[in-house]
């Protein structure tokens, strides 16, 4: 869900005075997930694709299969570890792309002003009118299933999310006396923007990107859950949950619930981190740093 909530930042700023325990926990969880994904070939106890009908639908806690197995006997723990790769890399791609697009468009709108600003703002309104999941499904219909097209579509979809904030910070910052003084000193517009405006935009950008990462992760996992995202033999957490459907109806929900829990915890962690970063920026600005 793409909702920008200004009140949220103000409130987080009031609430967080030091780094709370919850933020440390969130960071620890994200590092854990990233490392298990990265080192999956070393850490995973089984091959993620090794089926064994003798060992199908084992409950969690079984020796050798600590998180149980799915309906074709594949080890759930190993699949979650390998699934972390696509589940995290794909939204990372979305965030990087939308970050670059958002910076470019936001800075351009703020610095150029006039009709360029008006056109860009109207363009962002149009993109905003497409719910992100709808845009992703539309490109799947055009280009067929796979992750590349949805990654690009979601990057476009999240560009206003970044671009609007970059634009407003750039406008605020651009009006300050030091910016004018650089210009008077004869520095070029592009140099001033990149050297002095961009660093001031970065903190807001990072906070927005963390939130966008969570949204993108959910969108891409939803797409895979619907059978429109990753194609077998590749797997992410969304497709694992999709494949667990019949097992859930048989009363053996673990092979679906566990990847679901991992998705949930990852998104909670990313949101906690994003809000913490957003909150500390709000505090810094209100103190007039």
């Amino acid at each position: 869900m793409t909702l920008t909530i200004p009140a949220l930042r103000a409130r987080s700023a009031r609430r967080r005075r030091r780094r709370p325990l919850i933020v440390s926990l969130a960071v620890a969880f994200l590092v854990l997930i990233a490392v298990t994904g990265l080192l999956a070939p070393v850490l995973a106890p089984h091959s993620p694709d090794a089926t064994s009908l003798l060992n199908s639908l084992l409950p969690p806690g079984t020796e050798g299969y600590w998180l149980g197995t799915d309906s074709t006997g594949r080890d759930v723990l190993s699949r979650i570890m390998y699934g972390a790769r696509l589940s995290l890399l794909a939204p990372l791609g979305v965030v990087l792309l939308s970050g670059v697009l958002g910076i470019t468009i936001g800075l351009l709108a703020a610095r150029a002003g006039g009709w360029a600003d008006a056109v860009i703002s109207r363009g962002m309104d149009i993109v905003f009118a497409f719910p992100s999941l709808l845009l992703a499904m539309l490109v799947v219909a055009v280009f067929g299933p796979g992750l590349t097209a949805p990654i690009c579509a979601l990057a476009v979809s999240y560009t206003p999310f970044v671009g609007r904030v970059v634009r407003s910070v750039a406008l605020q910052e651009g009006a300050r006396p030091y910016m004018e003084s650089y210009r008077v000193m004869g520095f070029g517009e592009l140099w001033v923007t990149l050297r002095h405006l961009l660093p001031n935009v970065m903190p807001v950008l990072i906070a927005q990107s963390a939130l966008a990462f969570g949204y993108a992760l959910v969108d891409l996992a939803s797409l895979s859950y619907l059978g429109l995202g990753v194609r077998p033999p590749d797997a992410d957490w969304g497709s694992m949950i999709s494949q667990a459907r019949s097992a859930i109806l048989q009363g053996e929900p673990w092979s679906g619930l566990l990847p679901g829990l991992v998705v949930l915890l990852t998104v909670v962690s990313v949101n906690v981190l994003g809000e913490h970063l957003g909150g500390s920026i709000g505090r810094k600005q209100s103190e007039g740093v």
């Binding site: 909530i5 409130r11 859950y225 929900p253």
Partner: protein, 319 residues
């Protein structure tokens, strides 16, 4: 004054119209982005005679230029004709309207759940503060991060398969049976919306509670409930309404996930099956409706703002 208001409404309506226009061009143009020959891609594995290929090409306006093809498509759409489904061989409009009952009820049901529980939790946690507020904050953080497919399988596993309280699939027959069938899907869809509303509502209520006029009303001896009703809730309504407007469009698209999870025959599951079969007329039709819904609802919310909250000004003047 009235003239200014009319001018402002006109400007907003024009902006909305432009957005829908641009979005519809994008939706129509997506077909032209299909790599290779769109008609062959759309036909999938089906063997087509040259006459059929030609008929398809004509029905998409591919035998004409972009502008002409678009005008023909949007002209038909304005007459509520969204073309013919490749998969079902029936009109897209009747295909969608036939399924709108289930999806519409699902959206209204989940919006009601989200609004009732979201604003209740927001108000109670803002007024009580302390431990209640902290528990609510955690609940909100978890619910906003729960994708609807995760809540769907959780609810299915617990309440349907585990406890047997609710059916796992189907939409039921008759009003009571239908509500019973839609309860779990509506809850799954409402969970994120609930979290977002509770969060925004809590922030709005907390802000209003801290204002001087609330303090002044209290010191005049007004009862706590009256102060909250008259001074806090009224003023906090505007930001919550904005969020409700945004929620409707995301709930419309959210039906895709939830209807698939619960085996419901609605617009969302139609969208999913049409995307995977590349049934373009259906995909374009549903996308057009989704964008239209989003723009109309949000424009209405924007236009209603000065009437709900007199502090919102129209063109620099308060109403």
């Amino acid at each position: 004054m009235a003239r200014m208001l009319a001018a402002w409404i006109g400007k907003r309506a024009l902006g909305a119209l432009l957005t829908v226009l641009a979005a519809s061009i994008l939706i129509y143009g997506s077909l032209r982005l299909v790599p290779g020959d769109p008609v062959l891609a759309v036909a999938g594995g089906r063997r087509l005679t040259p006459e059929q290929v030609e008929a398809l090409r004509h029905s998409y306006g591919l035998d004409r230029g972009f502008a002409q093809g678009y005008l023909a498509w949007i002209g038909d759409a304005l007459r509520l004709d969204l073309g013919t489904s490749l998969n079902y061989q029936t009109g897209v409009t009747s295909l969608i309207t036939g399924r709108l009952g289930v999806s519409g009820l699902l959206i209204l049901y989940s919006a009601t759940l989200a609004i009732v529980f979201g604003s209740a939790v927001a108000l109670v946690s803002a007024v009580k503060g302390g431990l209640v507020n902290r528990i609510a904050t955690i609940a909100v953080a978890v619910t906003t991060a729960t994708p609807s497919f995760v809540s769907a399988i959780g609810l299915l596993a617990l309440f349907s398969v585990g406890l047997g309280w609710f059916p796992a699939t189907g939409a039921g027959t008759g009003p009571a049976d239908r509500l019973w069938h839609l309860t779990l899907p509506a809850t799954a869809m409402a969970i994120v919306a609930f979290g977002v509303l509770a969060r925004v509502g809590n922030a709005a209520f907390a802000e209003e509670l801290g204002r001087e006029h609330v303090e002044a009303a209290r010191s005049r001896g007004a009862s706590g409930a009256a102060v909250i009703r008259r001074h806090v809730v009224r003023n906090a309504l505007a930001p919550m309404l904005t969020i409700v407007g945004l929620l409707f469009a995301s709930l419309f698209v959210g039906t895709a996930v939830v209807e698939t999870a619960f085996g419901l025959d609605g617009v969302g599951s139609l969208l999913v099956s049409s995307v995977s079969r590349r049934d373009f007329p259906v995909v374009q039709g549903i996308a057009l409706i989704a964008v239209l819904l989003f723009v109309v609802v949000n424009t209405l919310v924007d236009l209603a703002m000065p009437f709900i909250d007199p502090r919102v000004t129209v063109g620099g003047l308060s109403r």
